[in-house]
Symmetry: C2
């Protein structure tokens, strides 16, 4: 084998990438980064405080160093600037909710990927359950984990939309399927002239209101409870749905787009963002993998391309559409009525 | 958030990297690459032949394209040069054994990483079993998966050792804990003057002999059965152990090194290779994660640095030692008696 021969490295690295993944997930579960946000600590001190067994505590912490999530100097471990900002539970910038959910639920469910691919059926707690969100919202501890997870995976996109979209043209906005409300919160923080609404099932109200209040927005951002399939959407200038459309099957997706169209005034805008698959379906691996995650977690959800979403919006009547990249794997599709 | 602010991308990508990992593992399990080694196929044909459900077969195959494991042209999927060479079960270059083992065993066991870190105890099938290899070798189907897996993860290092080590100086070599025998096979293929021995438990003999015969080496490479703790090692010029030392606890590691020393003549060489952790324990993440894998899979195993191994070899009496990088994460420590 010469040095120009193909190498199995990429294959083996990807095939065993769950080692690095699960190591980070366990570190988040054990709150390694929250602990170290207090200051650097020695191996002995961390082993004791985190309840690690000495057999492998050093390997575990050094693996986090080698993976770029911790630093180690003169035997003392500390957070990197990134993990200090994003994985300390006590900071509002915490994005670990999605990793807590991945650790508690998704990692195990994905062990059944082959069965999901063979049957087309979800592999979550109750594989037969048809009403995924109904069951989720009925369980307060699952709901809280889920809503925090959604904030974790959406923060970057939310902040980008808050500055990238031409908000000066509009006076009001509603985030439908708002969860903790981080999208409407970020948009309202950046645009003091806007009145905002978070729309979601009633169970979400207290969690939403806590987040809005923590951001000092209670006077401008309010909660409206409703079911976006059964009830009309709020009448506002801009309707947003972040990581919503991909949860549903094709008919449900089209229904939500039609309801957004109906609720908007002439000239109003609908913003739908997701981890859009590139139109050639060959580059944005994350979008495609997210679609497999929807297979595993939901009865009919799937991710889609910008071209798919543009076609659905045109079919619903939107006269002008465009796709804009946000951050990481996320892009938004915008429809103007 | 300005563009210079820290981003949670690396955190989220690593935390969800098990998606890509499990997608590849399921593809290996369903023999996608073995099927496509016959030639390019359309989505419809592949969906039928692989027994995929139409809900997500396109997402699954396109995810493999986006991850770099398949190509797609004019709607026909085909292997990449790499997956065609390394993931087609019918080729001797197949390295998928390690991924089959990862898919059947390791992925699920790693779901218990937190418990392993808290208790120091393995999390494999029978967490209490003290005799890991005894149980493994007693189950022919587990044994075959394991031995093929070892060839998959060792092939690159084996080929490198066959050309990188100064074999001209030596007449005979034994690979202790030889498994399928790929190390001694590659060394013998490249060095026609050498007589080779594979040393392992008796259950391994037929699998070893099949591999040696397939490579046309039956006249120069033979099997000796034995237990490397209980029995003396073969008297040869070079003793090798590939991915062996990391399976055992410190006392067992030192015993194996001492036994290699005792079996060698003056001037003989001992080669031990593993995914060596860098001496600073901050760079070779794979070696550190492999050590966590040993925590999960074995009662006392752990990976180690080149400096660790040099110290153990010197303690055993080797007069000269050196560490040489092989390929990917693997390096070898050489001791000259």
């Amino acid at each position: 084998m010469s040095t120009t021969a193909p190498s199995p490295d990429h294959i083996l690295q990807t095939g065993l990438a769950f080692w690095a993944s699960k190591t980070l997930l366990s570190a988040v579960e054990m709150e390694v980064f929250t602990e170290l946000a207090r200051g650097p600590e020695s191996l002995e001190s961390l082993t004791g405080r985190l309840g690690l067994h000495p057999r492998s505590s050093r390997d575990f912490l050094d693996a986090l160093v080698a993976l770029g999530f911790l630093e180690r100097q003169d035997g003392a471990y500390s957070n990197t600037p990134s993990t200090n900002l994003f994985l300390d539970k006590h900071k509002p910038s915490y994005v670990g909710g999605i990793l807590e959910m991945a650790n508690r639920r998704l990692y195990g469910h994905w062990n059944n990927l082959t069965a999901a691919l063979r049957t087309g059926k979800p592999q979550s707690e109750s594989p037969g359950e048809e009403d995924f969100f109904g069951a989720l919202y009925a369980d307060p501890s699952r709901l809280k984990t889920f809503l925090r997870a959604m904030t974790g995976i959406s923060r970057g996109a939310n902040i980008t939309i808050a500055s990238q979209f031409p908000w000066a043209k509009y006076k009001s906005a509603a985030d439908c399927g708002t969860a903790q409300g981080d999208l409407i919160v970020q948009v309202a923080l950046k645009n003091p002239h806007l009145a905002g609404i978070g729309f979601d099932l009633p169970e979400v109200a207290p969690i939403f209101e806590e987040h809005v209040e923590a951001n000092g927005l209670s006077s401008r951002v309010r909660f409206i409870s409703g079911n976006f399939f059964a009830d009309p959407l709020p009448h506002v200038d801009v309707i947003m749905m972040g990581h919503i459309l991909h949860d549903w099957n094709l008919e449900e997706k089209k229904l939500l787009i039609r309801k957004a169209y109906e609720a908007l005034p002439e000239g109003g805008a609908f913003i739908a963002y997701d981890a859009l698959i590139d139109d050639d379906r060959s580059k944005n691996a994350f979008g495609l993998l997210m679609s497999l995650n929807m297979l595993i977690e939901s009865p009919g959800g799937f991710d889609y391309t910008g071209a798919d979403c543009v076609a659905w919006m045109k079919e619903a009547g939107f006269r002008e559409t465009r796709v804009e990249h946000l951050v990481g794997p996320d892009s938004m599709t915008i429809g103007i009525k």
